[in-house]
């Protein structure tokens, strides 16, 4: 169907909301509580637009498009109302961007930037309250805009049912279980709430202060743990050769952005000082010494050759691996089958 946005005609699909149609056509409407995964919430009121024939301003995340609809997203009326909403959200929290983890990836900051709001007009003195009790997730209530995305994600997406709104009015905040610190709650640290939070209210704890979002390069890969094969995005600090954080890929048909505590947070081992950095050869006394690749490979080849010569190829056996790539497993069995000439190949599929 055809709709008109800001005087220009665009294509839209039946069943889309005005916000979705605008986004698909590259028209920016600030919005905070809507996320494709958690759906329309109609809470934050930032995405309000003018629709010809409708009374008052409409939240574009909840209104479905209709053939011939005429939408205005940047009239003075709309801008004034959006500015007020964002101003109030900024005023009701402590949105200090300087040392915030989300700086550069914050949807509230984006909205303020696009609407030209330098600093909040009002001061509503929010309570400073942080929750540092969990191993991997850090919460700062004063940066919460109560959009409810984390709650929707926790309950409807990963269905861990830990987060909810607690208290009333100005005291409303996101709580874990019966308002216990996250570290003492039933939370399993999957980090779905971190992934959905539009501001710096719920962030990954370990990388805090370690890298600005725009300095990180994102590389898509597959989780190294169980066999589900969740798609992850590694946020890499190239200069330091380090993985800083991991997020789930939202459009993956496997995990739809979800990860578990291991897939999202158990990556320190890559940088462990215990990593092997050179081949090791056992000396006669039993201790290991570092060796060059040349020496190690020559030794392995000659010892395998000796065993084959003396005892036959079936005296050599090899374990491929359920944790290395297809290419590596293919090559491993090709090596055993063509260089040793044995089928003594297995791996821990059964274990």
């Amino acid at each position: 169907m055809k709709v008109t946005i800001n005087g220009k005609e665009y294509e839209a699909r039946q069943g889309q909301t005005v916000l979705q149609a605008a986004r698909d056509n590259g028209v920016y409407i600030p919005s905070l509580c809507y996320h494709p995964k958690t759906g329309p919430a109609g809470k934050c009121r930032v995405c309000i637009v003018e629709i010809e024939g409708a009374r008052g301003l409409q939240t574009s995340c909840t209104v479905p498009v209709k053939e011939g609809m005429i939408i205005n997203t940047e009239s003075e009326n709309v801008r004034k109302a959006q500015r007020l909403v964002v101003d109030l959200l900024l005023s009701s929290g402590r949105h200090d961007c300087l040392a915030c983890e989300q700086n550069g990836a914050c949807e509230l900051q984006d909205a303020a930037y696009r609407l030209g709001i330098e600093r909040p007009t009002f001061t509503l003195a929010p309570k400073e309250q942080t929750d540092n009790s969990a191993e991997f997730v850090f919460r700062e209530h004063a940066k919460c805009i109560q959009c409810g995305r984390c709650i929707a994600g926790c309950n409807a997406t990963v269905v861990n049912e830990v987060l909810d709104f607690g208290f009333r009015g100005h005291d409303t905040k996101v709580i874990c279980d019966d308002d216990v610190p996250m570290g003492s709650s039933t939370c399993v640290q999957c980090g779905e709430c971190v992934q959905l939070c539009p501001t710096g209210a719920i962030v990954d704890k370990l990388p805090r202060g370690k890298a600005r979002t725009w300095q990180l390069e994102k590389v898509e890969t597959v989780c190294p743990y169980c066999g589900v094969g969740c798609r992850q995005e590694l946020h890499v600090d190239r200069a330091a050769n380090r993985i800083v954080r991991i997020s789930g890929v939202e459009d993956s048909p496997v995990n739809e952005g979800m990860l578990c505590v291991k897939g999202r947070y158990a990556f320190d081992f890559v940088q462990s000082p215990e990593r092997l950095t050179a081949p090791l050869i056992r000396e006669d006394g039993g201790t290991f010494r570092k060796a060059s690749w040349d020496e190690a490979l020559t030794l392995v080849a000659s010892r395998f050759g000796d065993v084959v010569k003396k005892h036959g190829p079936d005296a050599v056996a090899g374990l491929a691996s359920a944790k290395v790539t297809n290419e590596e497993n293919f090559l491993f069995q090709k090596f055993m089958r063509t260089r040793i000439i044995t089928n003594n190949i297995d791996h821990c599929a059964r274990l």
């Binding site: 590694l234 092997l276 079936d314 944790k323 090559l331 000439i341 821990c348 599929a349 059964r350």
Partner: protein
């Protein structure tokens, strides 16, 4: 999995048996919980532990460890007795029904209650719910396979899904959840003693000829030995040299003392890994390998989806990708291989692997493709056995129930079963090196309230767990989530290794060890 992950939401009923899904496959558990929460899907959980998913189940049943064949036969008994089976599917798509029917005839709910401990009424309710709810998906993991009757258990799940007509339908299927990032791929690639890539049989003339020609070598026609036989062979002297890539049998294999003895006895042991693992400590040569984030390549997940890995960081020091190391050894033995990158290997692989033949790195993109994908135009296969089974008709098999290899007795009165926890992975080579994770889950033995009371053990106290293989000291986690007489130990911990206790008895066909049942004794430490 015969089916795909995205199809889970299409199931009307899901049976989870022998899988602690929220611990071992959390994102699939999330999909199952989403389906239940949507109101469309009913859930049945059968497990010795009252796992987290049981909270979402319409029916939860606790079987005695090692009685799955009896339980599944009992469910089928009720279905067939009442005529609730999918008659059209059974008649047109399957064979062997009469023999199966005659066998399950013996498994009345009352008889199965005696064997398994699941009340007869519960078995009947499970049969009723599972056979009447449209499409039923069955999910299992190592709770079904790690038994001396592992193959029998798997065949029984297939029997149930065939009599319910749940095969070849979105949301249905027999769905083993694979436990490691590329365990599916390692099998697909022929990392097994009896098959070349894509399960092409060793010893088959045409297959041998194909690989001999492609590789310009005469390959052996004799099937090789399995991991458990390699360990035994190192002790008897039949295996003189062992090459282990990215595996840690000292922690992952049954009867740890036996494994350690074998590695000590092995004349020449090469271990290729990221760390000096418990296994690498026995090696003569240790080769440093790159981590997943340090290389390109592909993994194949539990739903047969082949997905690309992309290199994000440099490997430390002189560590190399496993394929580079293998090529190095091969060339030191005169192979003259010149693979420039993982894609070059993939390109050779797909010419020899019919189910991967239509895949290229470009086609895989970021979404991947599910095998079989035989041609370059093929879209991949989310659901297997749609029109017919790979072998033609689905083969139903009559399976009599057999007890586990080692049952509790006066000296070892408990049943010990093992598994995973959410916060750790396999032998801990990766997770145990990660700050924070270790604080969330340490070694423990799960013990029932009444057993703990009888032993005078309180939650968090040290206990000694012994079997005929050895003993460990660990911490009691006292709970009502496990049945009286059963104890559960996660196997991740080198300092309290469950596999010092487990039995090396294996399934006669699959050679999988019976990690899920052995006899144990518990004392205050």
């Amino acid at each position: 999995m015969t089916n795909d992950i995205a199809g889970i939401k299409a199931a009307d009923v899901i049976l989870v048996i022998g899988s602690d899904t929220t611990s071992a496959h959390p994102v699939i558990a999330a999909r199952i919980k989403q389906a239940v929460r949507s109101g469309k899907t009913k859930l049945i959980v059968i497990d010795p532990k009252e796992i987290r998913l049981a909270d979402y189940a319409t029916i939860y049943a606790r079987q005695r460890c090692g009685t799955d064949v009896a339980v599944l036969n009992g469910i089928m008994h009720v279905i067939l007795k009442n005529g609730w089976e999918a008659k059209e599917f059974v008649a047109s798509r399957c064979e062997g029904f009469d023999a199966l029917k005659a066998e399950v005839e013996k498994y009345t709910p009352e008889a199965v209650e005696k064997i398994s401990g699941i009340p007869a009424a519960t078995l009947t309710a499970i049969a009723d719910l599972f056979s009447h709810a449209g499409t039923g998906g069955l999910f299992y993991s190592m709770g079904i396979t790690q038994h001396t009757t592992g193959v029998d258990n798997v065949k029984s799940t297939a029997n149930l899904q065939m009599i319910c007509g749940n095969m070849g339908k979105t949301g249905g299927g027999v769905n083993p959840l694979r436990g490691q990032s590329n365990v599916q791929g390692a099998c697909d690639m022929g990392g097994l003693p009896n098959v070349f890539p894509a399960y092409q049989k060793v010893g088959d003339e045409a297959v041998q000829a194909k690989f001999d020609k492609a590789w310009g070598t005469k390959c052996s026609v004799k099937p090789g030995i399995t991991i458990t036989e390699m360990i035994d062979g190192a002790i008897t002297g039949n295996v003189k040299a062992l090459y282990i890539m990215g595996e840690n049998p000292v922690i992952s294999d049954p009867d740890q003392h036996h494994v350690q003895k074998a590695l000590e006895a092995c004349g020449f042991l090469v271990v290729q890994d990221m760390f000096l693992t418990e296994t690498a400590k026995y090696a003569h040569v240790v080769l440093p390998a790159a981590a997943w984030a340090e290389k390109d390549g592909t993994f194949t997940n539990t739903e047969r989806r082949v997905q690309r890995l992309n290199k994000a960081v440099q490997a430390p020091g002189e560590a190399k990708s496993d394929w580079e190391i293998i090529q190095g050894i091969a060339n030191a033995m005169g192979a003259g291989w010149q693979y420039a990158n993982s894609e070059a290997i993939f390109e050779e692989m797909r010419t020899l692997t019919p189910s991967y033949a239509g895949m290229t790195y470009d086609r895989l993109g970021s979404m991947g493709l599910q095998w079989p994908c035989p041609t370059i135009e093929h879209p991949g296969t989310p659901v297997l056995h749609r029109e017919k089974f790979t072998r033609g008709l689905g083969l139903m098999t009559a399976i009599p129930f057999k007890e586990a290899a080692e049952l509790p007795d006066a000296e070892y009165p408990f049943v010990l079963t093992t598994g995973r926890v959410l916060y750790q992975f396999h032998t801990g080579t990766m997770t145990r090196k990660t700050a924070g994770i270790n604080k969330l889950a340490g070694p423990m033995v799960m013990l029932s309230d009444p057993d703990a009371a009888a032993l005078g053990v309180r939650n968090g106290e040290k206990v000694k767990v012994s079997t005929r293989r050895g003993n460990i000291v660990t911490y009691a986690s006292v709970t009502n989530k496990i049945g009286k007489g059963t104890v559960y130990i996660p196997f991740h911990y080198a300092e309290a290794p469950a596999n010092r206790l487990t039995i090396a008895a294996v399934d006669p066909v699959a050679k999988i060890p019976e990690f899920k049942v052995c006899a144990a004794k518990i004392e205050k430490a």
